[in-house]
Symmetry: D3
């Protein structure tokens, strides 16, 4: 069995702010700086989904990346794209909308459906800007 790691990139554009409701506006500003702007700001997010598995002998695919793309679009892009992450995304309710927490939430969404495709979700990488990104391997 020759294990390979296949990655698909998808993108979404969303608004958010970093705001802890247990803190007043000044403390939010002290901790989060301009990321706490009450009227929101936003980003173009780049999401890389990496799965691992052995290529099938009849297709040469670890997974059909078109199927993986369709799954990510249905379960993640349609939920986050052109949305307000704090207000519009159910799985982010009550959670700080940091890149770290977004990528953990996406893992929860994708892990079971991807593992039912015959491969294993291995890593998520989420770029918030060209300078900042977070990787997640399921928490370990």
């Amino acid at each position: 069995m020759k294990i390979v790691y296949a990655t698909r990139r998808e993108r979404f554009n969303a608004a958010h702010k970093l705001w802890n409701p247990e803190w007043d506006e000044q403390k939010n500003l002290d901790i989060f700086g301009k990321c706490s702007n009450p009227n929101w700001h936003g980003h173009n997010y780049d999401l890389y989904v990496t799965v691992k598995g052995a290529p099938a002998s009849d297709t040469g695919y670890c997974v059909d990346l078109k199927d993986l793309s369709d799954l990510i679009k249905k379960l993640v892009v349609d939920v986050f794209d052109h949305k307000n992450i704090n207000l519009d995304v159910p799985v982010m309710k009550g959670v700080m909308a940091s890149t770290e927490n977004i990528v953990i939430a996406i893992w929860e969404i994708l892990e079971t459906p991807i593992n039912q495709m015959g491969c294993t979700l291995h890593k998520l990488t989420l770029y918030e800007t060209e300078n900042n990104f977070v990787e997640y391997f399921g928490g370990h």
Copy 2:
């Protein structure tokens, strides 16, 4: 006189929505699609500012791009970055927050101060995503 065109890139991250207040929610949705999401969405904007002029004999510079960067940061990035373009940016009040109109507004901001630096503002390019961008030469 050997005219060159020098360009500086700056970046800002902002929220916006495309929403015509003279239309109801359904018509906004029909025209703008997901860009009309009432709770906003956002982007990483890349702004390229191109000036033209002849290199000075003592510096070799058309313009000191560090000075140009400082000017753009003070007049544009500080105004748009981590802001809601519809709500927080004075020059965008009452204007549709399309990339086209944002780039025109930035031209109005930058034209006079740049031309006082001894060169001429030639072009602005504003990327909303890796797939969509708008260029502006002052309207002609």
Copy 3:
């Protein structure tokens, strides 16, 4: 009237070869080098379509880039993507499949439909690789 230039990027992946049927295999190899490989090679092409026009007062759009994207996908991407440019693309029959000629052929396809959208086709840029690209303004 403030004229802006709006650009949409689309992509297609295609096979081709550079082969002049009036020359024998040796001369094709002499002129085109490895680009003349009889069994074809291929590229990821990046196409940038630039239109010019004034932003509409009710939308802020020069053109709806989603509509422009749909048009390019229907008229260009569906014709060239995952195709053999020499064998499968009707408008390229009898034409050398160089980047120059591909971009001219795409202009012929897009010029009239884009100009019927209320803006003007201004420029096409076609990247064959990260190092080679061709721009076309309609021939002048």
Copy 4:
């Protein structure tokens, strides 16, 4: 011993199709979609070769990346570049020309010669498009 991981990128442009000869045209189309186009399509492939080892005290190099580049060009780029992967590449005969299988074949080619350079082949990454890529660590 301070182990570092050094990577060299090389590129090649090739034609291929995904086609299982045990299936008829309709089943190939059902499974592989437009990737099964009988007349081929193609890509610009980006290959990243990562080796591990300790920097030598006299050169500071884990491996001379110029030597590594020359080796990859001779053994991989000259074999795949401007070729039809299904028809022209001996090591891909009888193998589905998926990115997964291409990267495994390149590992077989490079592993021994690289390990004879005094470092160890650690990872290959092969980009088929900006959205799809496969990594391989030798199968484990």
Copy 5:
């Protein structure tokens, strides 16, 4: 505890040469080629600093990437940027100025201060060009 890996990119532009003072000019040229040019050459270096840790419940941050950026700028960028790595950078004195050795030196600089921020330095990646880069995990 859900461990994530957060990365911050910073950049610096520097001159260097590869030159072993125990060898004569000819041997340096034989081994290092044009990298041994006595009058130096230079690069735009891209540095990616990856830390691991669990997101805090009150901020959602593994580490505040703004704080991490400030630390890297103070300890690394201010030391290497617009400098001659061989002549101006104290930690590189007596060390071959290869990308491998630069990344090891940066690890020595950053490891303790980053680990005092409540997360763990996990990986450094240093790009010398778009084609050459080195990763370092602390030597193991």
Copy 6:
């Protein structure tokens, strides 16, 4: 005659400093900041060479970009790559080593040989960093 604009990218890595010998060290520091570091710094330069012309009927080429690449490598890359622009590059002697002046010097080198290839040199673009670049059309 259908005129197209074809572009070839080449790269070189070089050291330089901005230093006006008629000024003392303090004034050089005041004007050029860290770019005046006496021991040099350096960059990865990206050069885009754009020529205009009509595609030939027998090749489909405006110019063979392989020939253009060879010419640029011989006349520009071999002169600037892994060199000190102030000390090692004859055409830059006595000239401030700004991006503006480098691109003008490259135009002087390339204009006649390119125009002898049957096309016309139209534009040079020289990137010093991802944020700074200069374009030149021959001075007008």
